[in-house]
């Protein structure tokens, strides 16, 4: 039964592995392959710390990957273009003030409990998600300004907002605003988290035990995927079995030994493990996670060195992002080029402004009065140029940045604290640099971290002085008012340029979702937000 290990293929596979992981295209999808229905896909995630499967409530990205299979949304988002396309809604209209949305619904769609999906069901679902309040941490921002939903007729529903929310259209494509059966909202939020959720997806949730297992079986009468899916009928797979394997090497070993078909990690699969997977005949798929790139945000409010724009601009030049990507990850790992990852709609390349320029950084620091001392660090009025960065673990990446900054005379102090302490430090402003990340395929997501007008987070309050904050809030507000994609694109391009130039954010690396596939898996696809899409997946014999 078991395949013998192919040691000889290892070196060749290693070379191919490097070529395959940058391409993004599936090397297994050879021409002439016709999908064969049947079989059970076994997928292993790393963990399930939130222990919730309800799409409306969950923020844990692994659960959202499963939710995508069991629950459909009003719209879908094209991973390539970021464009919003029809799904449960065939078309829609958005008012010019971005406060009223009208959706026309697809006919003939049913939930797996037999209830038809109509305007009343959509209203129940949106009201139900809004009613979750802070229980739905993502719903809170997706539905910002939500006033009400109105049933116009059986196939038409209108959603009204008190304040402009141009990002809502993208929000309707997310699992968070997936439409669930009206009966689901009669269950308590706890019961929904534990698996009492019914959607209209290509799979139904059979069982779910938090952090242990989940089982999904296909819906035979499914016929309403979005246009982004090739297979317009029922899924090829009979079932999906989910387990959680915390240890990276065990998860990869399970894949190469054939115990699972997909290994889905949180941290990128290491180069060595990628080679192991490819040596066993498997392949690697990857997609940068859209949303806020991994970045550090300054504290300009406590009178530290970063209050000075010149120092912030020097810091921007002192980080060598290319070396970061190639040494912490691998040779052709994408280099971060903005405050957003490259897969975010309206991403605008800022790589010129983010180029590594240690000489320029040194010049700027000299200009700002920070003179090089005999110990290699810079001083001004007897004070050392020290920047405090609270971390929970001093990762190799953190240490690399520390080393890079040392070259221009900046002392990056990695203060190791517990997660609980870091929350306190971020809130009280006891930092010079604070980390922020968040996944959502819409640029408005950055507002939750940086816009003082809507966010009271430390990363928003302390990162900008009054004048800068006014300008930043203005740009974010414009983005939420602009309905026209071209206009939105222009606003967010301005915003990205401004944030980088003013040193409101220091992007460090692009976050990438990887998945290791066994040789049997065909038709693998990522959604726009880098979640799993299983409609087209089939297993070769």
């Amino acid at each position: 039964m078991r395949k013998p290990r192919r040691i000889g293929a290892l070196s060749l596979a290693a070379v191919m592995g490097l070529a395959a992981c940058g391409g993004g295209g599936s090397p297994t999808a050879a021409a002439g392959d016709t999908p064969v229905p049947g079989g059970t896909l076994k997928i292993a995630f790393w963990d399930d710390a939130q222990g919730c499967i309800d799409p409306n409530q969950v923020y844990w990205i692994e659960s959202r990957s499963l939710d995508r299979q069991i629950a459909d949304s009003l719209t879908d988002q094209d991973p390539e273009t970021g464009k919003i396309v029809p799904w449960l809604a065939t078309d829609w209209a958005v008012s010019d003030d971005a406060k009223t949305y009208t959706f026309n619904l697809r006919k003939g769609v049913t939930f797996s409990d037999g209830t038809p999906l109509d305007a009343a069901a959509v209203k129940t679902s949106l009201d139900g998600t809004f009613a979750l309040g802070p229980r739905s941490v993502l719903g809170l921002t997706y539905l910002a300004g939500y006033a009400s939903s109105t049933v116009v007729d059986a196939d038409t529903v209108t959603v009204d907002f008190d304040t402009p929310n141009a990002a809502f259209l993208q929000a309707t494509s997310t699992t968070t605003l997936a439409i669930l059966s009206p009966k689901t909202y009669q269950e308590t939020p706890e019961q929904r988290c534990a698996g009492k959720v019914v959607g209209s997806g290509a799979f139904t949730l059979d069982s779910y035990t938090a952090a242990k297992q989940a089982r999904l079986t296909k819906r035979k009468d499914y016929a309403w995927p979005s246009s982004l899916v090739k297979n317009q009928g029922a899924a090829y797979l009979d079932a999906i079995e989910v387990s959680y394997i915390k240890e990276d090497s065990v998860r990869v070993g399970s894949l190469t030994s054939g115990a699972i078909d997909i290994a889905w990690p949180r941290e990128p699969i290491s180069e060595a493990d990628q080679q192991l997977i490819q040596a066993a005949g498997g392949s690697i798929e990857s997609r940068p996670l859209p949303g806020i790139s991994y970045q550090l945000v300054p504290n300009v409010a406590k009178g530290g060195p970063l209050a000075d724009l010149t120092v912030r601009q020097a810091l921007q030049k002192a980080i060598d992002r290319k070396t970061y990507a190639s040494t912490i990850y691998w040779a052709d790992y994408p280099v971060v080029a903005s405050v957003f990852d490259s897969t975010t709609p309206h991403f605008a390349d800022q790589s010129a402004a983010l180029a590594y320029d240690p000489d320029g950084a040194a010049r700027l620091l000299d200009e700002a009065g920070w003179k090089l001392g005999s110990d290699g660090y810079r001083y001004k009025d007897g004070k050392k140029l020290t920047l405090v960065d609270p971390v929970t673990v001093a990762s190799p990446g953190d240490q690399l940045v520390q080393d890079q900054l040392k070259k221009v005379g900046i002392d990056l102090s990695l203060k190791v604290v517990t997660a609980a302490q870091r929350v306190e430090i971020f809130a009280s402003g006891g930092f010079d640099l604070a980390l922020t990340v968040l996944t959502r395929a819409d640029p408005s997501v950055l507002g939750s971290a940086l816009d003082q007008a809507v966010s009271k987070q430390g990363t928003a309050i302390y990162s900008q002085d009054g004048a800068t904050a006014t300008k930043v809030s203005e740009l974010f507000a414009k983005g939420l008012q602009a309905v026209d994609p071209t206009k939105r694109g222009l606003v967010y391009a301005d915003l990205q340029k401004y944030l980088v130039e003013q040193g409101v954010s220091f992007p460090v690396f692009e976050r990438v979702q990887l998945a290791g596939l066994s040789s049997k898996v065909r038709g693998f696809a990522f959604t726009s937000e880098a979640f799993l899409r299983a409609n087209d997946i089939w297993l070769s014999k």
């Binding site: 939020p189 065990v250 009271k456």
Partner: protein
């Protein structure tokens, strides 16, 4: 007399449990953060983003708005009724988390301890019995090797060989006896090494006692002398150690359950501590304390069976 002894020990056990509860309560409430802020932070939402009403509602939901002494007595009363409250991070009653995991860890711990006893006693017995010098030296050095490998390394090694390369046993999961074997071996290697070390030493001591010389003089075989006379007398320190090893099962299970992806008490404890999930941490600590007390009670009850002098000592006091 025996009954009074047992009742006294039971009363002690209740006292220990109450003290453990109180200490955990104090420690958890002195930690520098509030559970609601942490819970929200885990979801990328800062506590500052919520309106005061939303925050108050959340705190009321978890009973965090009451004065500390009210919370203390509320929780104590709940515990008396075996109600552990709700998990903050996992949204389910703690008992629902605890019961299946307790069974899993119990099965793992029992298998591991069985292996520990068999291997530990065998190695110690042979180390004392074998007379060929190289084998004797090897058997006496073996425990030091067993103690010095960290469990996560042994675990990964076993998985690599027996699960991935040979395919004999599953690498992950907690269903079925097959999934017990590798984790139990991983846990038993350091513990059996410790047991073997202690037992070898006390066997050596016993074998030097005058009554052994007497037994030998009676013409008994070395095997009979060692098994019937020396081992019984050497067993007491080993039994004490065994009680402690049993009590430490959950702590060891943290690593093993993570490596082998087992659904157990150790992993639950670790996750709950990281998430500062107060009720779960408390419940796990109490269950572990209860197990520790129970095991030591059993060990204490076995002592007199092995060595009648132990009850004599109690009588004279």
């Amino acid at each position: 007399m025996m009954l009074r002894y047992i009742l006294g020990r039971l009363a002690q056990a209740v006292g220990v449990l109450w003290a453990v509860f109180t200490v955990t309560f104090v420690v958890l409430y002195l930690l520098p953060s509030n559970p609601v802020a942490l819970l929200l932070a885990a979801g990328d939402v800062q506590v500052e983003d919520l309106s005061p009403e939303q925050l108050a509602a959340l705190e009321a939901k978890y009973g965090l708005d009451e004065p500390v002494y009210v919370q203390y007595f509320d929780q104590l009363w709940q515990l008396v009724r075996l109600d552990f409250g709700n998990s903050i991070s996992k949204n389910v009653p703690v008992s629902q988390l605890l019961v299946p995991r307790l069974g899993s860890t119990l099965a793992l711990g029992m298998t591991a301890i069985l292996l520990t006893v068999v291997v530990g006693v065998a190695v110690a017995y042979l180390a004392a019995y074998v007379q060929w010098r190289p084998a004797r030296v090897l058997l006496r050095r073996l425990p030091a090797v067993g103690v010095s490998f960290p469990p996560f390394f042994i675990g990964l090694l076993l998985i690599q060989v027996f699960a991935f390369s040979l395919g004999w046993l599953p690498a992950t999961g907690s269903d079925g006896w097959q999934t017990l074997i590798l984790p139990a071996i991983t846990m038993a290697i350091p513990t059996s090494a410790m047991l073997a070390q202690v037992l070898t030493r006390s066997l050596d001591d016993s074998l030097a006692e005058p009554y052994i010389t007497t037994a030998r003089a009676k013409g008994l075989s070395r095997h009979v002398v060692q098994a019937r006379h020396a081992l019984r007398n050497a067993a007491l320190p080993a039994l004490t150690l065994l009680g402690m090893l049993l009590g430490a099962t959950v702590a060891e299970a943290v690593v093993v359950e993570t490596v082998f992806t087992r659904d157990g008490l150790g992993r639950l404890a670790q996750e709950a501590v990281l998430a500062q999930d107060v009720h779960v941490v408390q419940a796990v600590v109490l269950v572990v304390a209860a197990a520790f007390v129970a095991i030591n009670l059993v060990v204490d009850l076995i002592y007199p069976l092995i060595d009648p002098r132990v009850t004599h000592a109690h009588r004279t006091h």
